[in-house]
Structures are given as structure tokens and as C-alpha cells.
């Protein structure tokens, strides 16, 4: 069926607004349940372990190699005008302000967002979410709220770990490969680092954690049509989660940049 071009554009725009509206309503409803009992501390704890603890190897490796390659690449550039001494500062600022939150966010979007969408999506298509309702349990409170809160709370922790390991990676390459003095490297790292550098990264992390969990839950909650639907929901959760991470990364950076 072929539509005239204007109609196709209108259709696309309307569909976009509809999707944004539905997502916003879902986010509002889920967030409002965060403050209203009953609460499920046991489920929150389980999600915090799932997101925070089990993501440690992934984000640790990501941070390590990001820091290592950053030291190498900036050495290539800065040695051309004999500014090697700025490398520790460049590494620590890039990691804490930008690479730590973004890379950890993207890795968690792949790991956790996909898992949430697949689990909740399967619960949807096997009527487990309907079963929750018939057992007088609000699926928003039982399934969504613990995941949103765990994402919000655990991503800053993961990013802090990424920051430390990332700086450690830069240190390893600079000291053992590029011949920096270890004491001077650590001094230079800390000398120009401000609280705001780390704090802005952690604020980003909290927002990313919330968004990743939101997309995982939203896509899973609205999946339909069996295994294929769950697969589609999982893909959508990762893609939309990762894109939102990148968009909000710019928005938050600009908000902090203006100050």
C-alpha cells in the first residue's frame, strides 16, 4: 500500500508523538509509585545486586581499557608539542566527566536493559503480569519500581568504580610503557581534579541508570506477540536506552558547562 508523501510524513510524526506521550505517561505512573507503599525492599535489593554487583566485571574492563588507550592516544598528540605532563589531567578529566558515565551507561544498557526487557516481556506474553494483578499486586510497584530505583542508585556506584579503574589504566600505561614517574603522575592527576568533575559524572550516571531501567521496563511491559515480540522489545530496549544515554549526556554536559 503506497501513501502520498505528505500523508506518510504526517503518519510518522503522529506515531512519534504517540510513542513519546505513551512513554512519558508510563514514566510518570512508574515514578509516582516509587513514593507510595507497599514497598518491596527484598526485590530492590535483588535488583541492586543484579545491576550493581554483576555489572562490575563488564564496566571494570571497559574502564581499564578506556583509560589505557586514552593515555596512549593523548601521548601521541601531546608529545608533538612537548606537553606530556598534561596527560594525567587529560586522562582523569576525560574519564570522570565523560567516558566513565557514557561507556558504563552504554555497557549497562546492553547488559541490564536487555535483561529487563526480556524478563518483563516474557512475563507479559505468558500472562504473569496479568496474574500479578489478579493476586492484588500492582505490577508497576512489584516489577518496575525496584528496577528504576536500582538503576538510579547503582549506576553512580558503577561509574565511580569505572573512574577509579580508568585512571588506574592510564597510570599503568603511562608508568610502565611511557616511562612516567609514578609519584608525579598521581600528583598531576589529583592536582587539577575538582569535585565538580566527579560529581557531574555521577549525576549523569544516576540519570542514565534511571533511563536504561525505564526503557528496559517500558519495552518489556508493552511487548506482545510471543517470542518474536520479546526479541523486538529487547532490541528496542537496548537501542532506545543507548540513544537516550547519548542525548541526555549532551543535555547534562551543557547544563554543567553553562555554570
Amino acid at each position: 500500500m503506497k501513501r502520498p508523501p505528505l500523508q506518510a510524513i504526517g503518519h510518522g510524526v503522529l506515531a512519534l508523538f504517540e510513542a513519546v506521550g505513551r512513554l512519558s505517561l508510563f514514566a510518570l505512573e512508574a515514578t509516582s509509585h516509587c513514593a507510595r507503599p507497599p514497598f518491596y525492599p527484598r526485590l530492590l535489593l535483588r535488583q541492586m545486586v543484579e545491576i550493581g554487583f554483576y555489572s562490575l566485571p563488564v564496566v571494570g574492563l571497559t574502564g581499564l581499557f578506556a583509560g589505557m588507550v586514552l593515555a596512549l592516544q593523548s601521548y601521541t598528540g601531546f608529545s608533538r608539542f612537548s606537553a606530556e605532563s598534561t596527560i594525567p589531567t587529560v586522562v582523569v578529566l576525560s574519564i570522570t566527566r565523560e567516558l566513565g558515565p557514557v561507556l558504563a551507561g552504554l555497557m549497562v544498557a546492553g547488559r541490564v536493559g536487555a535483561a529487563m526487557a526480556a524478563e518483563i516481556g516474557t512475563m507479559r506474553v505468558t500472562e504473569q503480569i496479568d496474574a500479578l494483578t489478579t493476586l492484588s499486586t500492582n505490577p508497576h510497584k512489584y516489577l518496575i519500581v525496584p528496577r528504576l530505583l536500582a538503576g538510579l542508585l547503582m549506576l553512580p556506584f558503577l561509574v565511580l568504580v569505572t573512574d577509579i579503574i580508568g585512571v588506574g589504566g592510564g597510570y599503568l600505561v603511562s608508568v610502565y610503557k611511557l616511562g612516567f614517574n609514578p609519584d608525579a603522575y598521581i600528583n598531576n592527576t589529583l592536582e587539577y581534579l575538582e569535585v565538580m568533575d566527579v560529581a557531574s559524572g555521577l549525576v549523569k550516571a544516576a540519570v542514565f541508570g534511571y533511563l536504561i531501567a525505564l526503557m528496559g521496563c517500558y519495552q518489556g511491559f508493552h511487548s506482545k506477540g510471543g517470542a518474536q515480540g520479546v526479541g523486538k522489545a529487547t532490541t528496542n530496549a537496548v537501542v532506545t536506552g543507548a540513544i537516550l544515554v547519548l542525548i541526555f549526556n549532551y543535555i547534562i554536559t551543557e547544563a554543567f558547562f553553562a555554570q
Binding site: 524478563e119 500472562e127 496479568d130 499486586t137
Partner: protein, 271 residues
């Protein structure tokens, strides 16, 4: 927990336990329920039969508040539940539901599935809830050894038993059964039918079953209603199902391809 509510219905005398009146529901252009009326008395077991895709599941979902009807009313003990969230949540505490594929929670062991309503909705301590769960499992023929298994390790028949145990654990006044025998071998289907009859009798519960399994319908039902094209086309005592003189019912009961019911493929997909 069920006693005060039972006492309340005693006041009404003839008031039906569940009443669906003029229920309409359409998805896009496809009309699935078209002014459906059905009443179920206290302690009665009604089985709704009908082909796939004629609106049986949609009717059940409207009753459970999972779908909002476009028009019509759903009342339980005379109280309208389809328009008010609090009324619906109150009614939900008195309803148990056995889903078609049991819909057990994969992430919880069997006993926690059975005890879910007790722990989450009634706030019962876990130790006590586990004891009741194991008692309820014994009622449906599951021994205590299976309490700590996960649903993935269970056969289809066992899953149905766990689903039934979960539905009756909170001693509901109303139990709904969605295709209770689908996907089971004939012997296991008969075992589940027997369990349904004994469990609802022991609880004195009102039961509504949707199925297309006539053996199951004959065994469970006090009264049978047939749904077609979004309305009830026939209803009567289970014993009269073979002398209904209704062409729809005769075609369905005898499983004939020729008759007033013509299964259009597109129509079947809508429901």
C-alpha cells in the same frame, strides 16, 4: 476472610454473585463483545463454551479489570467494578484465577507461587504462608518435596496443579478458570477437572470457566452458556446441553464443520 462477604450476599437473596450486563468491547474495527449478558449465582459453577476467538478471553479480562469494556457493566455482589479502581482492587481480593498456561512466576519457587497472594496481598509472614502453601499443595495432589522446585522444572499437569493451588490458596469466593484442560493429556485433563470440582465445592466458591473442551464442560458445569459473535446465544443446565435445540450449540457439541458457525480466518484472529 470470606465469611463477612458471604454474609453480605445473604442479604440480597436473589442478587447474582457476578453480573455482566450489555458488555461491549471492540479492538479497532473488530467488535469482539457485542452486548453480552451473563449472570452467575452464588456458589454456582457456570461454564462458557465457544470457538476460539469469539470473545471468551476478552469477557474474562473485562471481568478481571484487565480490559476496560467500551460499554456495559460488570458487578460483583451488586457492586460495579469496571469503572472504579478501588472497587476493582477490593473485588480482586475475593477472586482467584487459574490461567491457561498457569502463568506461574518463573523467578519464584513453587511454594512462593502458591503463597504469593497470602504474602503480598494479605501481608502474612513467610513461615506461616509456607505452611498454608504446603497444605494447599496437598489438596491438589502435590507433595511437599516439590515446594522448593522452580516452575521450569515442572510438567504441564504439575504446572496446572500449582496454578490451581495458587488460585485457591487465599480461599477466594470466586474462582475463574481459563481453558483449564488445554494442553493436557486426556487422563490429566480429567484429574484437573476432578480437582476443580472438589476444590470449588470445598470452598463453596462461585466458579466461571471458559473452555472449548466439552468433556470438561460437562464435568464442571452446573449451567452451560454458549458464546458466539460477542453474545450469549444459548444457556441452560448442563444436563440439557444435548437437547438444546439450538443449531449453534448442536454444531459445537458435535464438532461439525457445517452449520451456522462459519469460522472466518480474519474474524478468528480478532478475538
Amino acid at each position: 476472610m470470606s465469611a463477612p462477604a458471604n454474609a453480605r450476599t445473604g442479604l440480597g437473596g436473589n442478587q447474582p454473585k457476578i453480573a455482566l450486563r450489555g458488555l461491549c468491547k471492540a479492538f479497532g474495527g473488530a467488535v469482539v463483545l457485542d452486548g453480552l449478558d451473563l449472570e452467575i449465582g452464588t456458589g454456582e459453577s457456570v461454564v462458557v463454551i465457544g470457538c476460539s476467538g469469539v470473545g471468551k478471553s476478552v469477557m474474562l479480562k473485562c471481568l478481571l479489570g484487565l480490559l476496560r469494556p467500551d460499554a456495559g457493566s460488570v458487578t460483583i455482589d451488586g457492586q460495579e467494578i469496571s469503572r472504579s479502581r478501588t472497587a476493582r482492587e477490593g473485588a480482586m481480593r475475593r477472586i482467584g484465577m487459574l490461567f491457561q498456561n498457569a502463568a506461574l512466576f518463573d523467578s519464584l519457587p513453587v511454594w512462593e507461587n502458591v503463597a504469593f497472594g497470602l504474602i503480598q496481598a494479605q501481608g502474612m509472614p513467610r513461615g506461616e504462608a509456607r505452611e498454608i502453601a504446603i497444605e494447599t499443595m496437598a489438596q491438589v495432589g502435590l507433595d511437599a518435596d516439590s515446594a522448593d522446585l522452580y516452575p521450569a522444572a515442572l510438567s504441564g499437569g504439575m504446572r496446572k496443579r500449582v496454578g490451581l493451588a495458587r488460585a485457591i490458596a487465599t480461599k477466594p469466593e470466586i474462582i475463574l478458570f481459563d481453558e483449564p484442560t488445554t494442553g493436557l493429556d486426556p487422563i490429566m485433563a480429567d484429574v484437573i477437572n476432578d480437582l476443580i470440582v472438589t476444590c470449588t465445592h470445598e470452598l463453596g466458591a462461585t466458579a466461571l470457566t471458559i473452555t472449548h473442551d466439552m468433556r470438561s464442560a460437562r464435568k464442571i458445569a452446573d449451567r452451560i452458556a454458549m458464546i458466539h459473535d460477542g453474545t450469549i446465544v444459548w444457556q441452560g443446565p448442563a444436563a440439557e446441553i444435548d437437547s438444546s435445540r439450538n443449531a449453534h450449540v448442536e454444531q459445537f457439541v458435535n464438532g461439525r464443520a457445517e452449520g451456522p458457525i462459519q469460522l472466518a480466518v480474519a474474524h478468528a484472529a480478532a478475538g
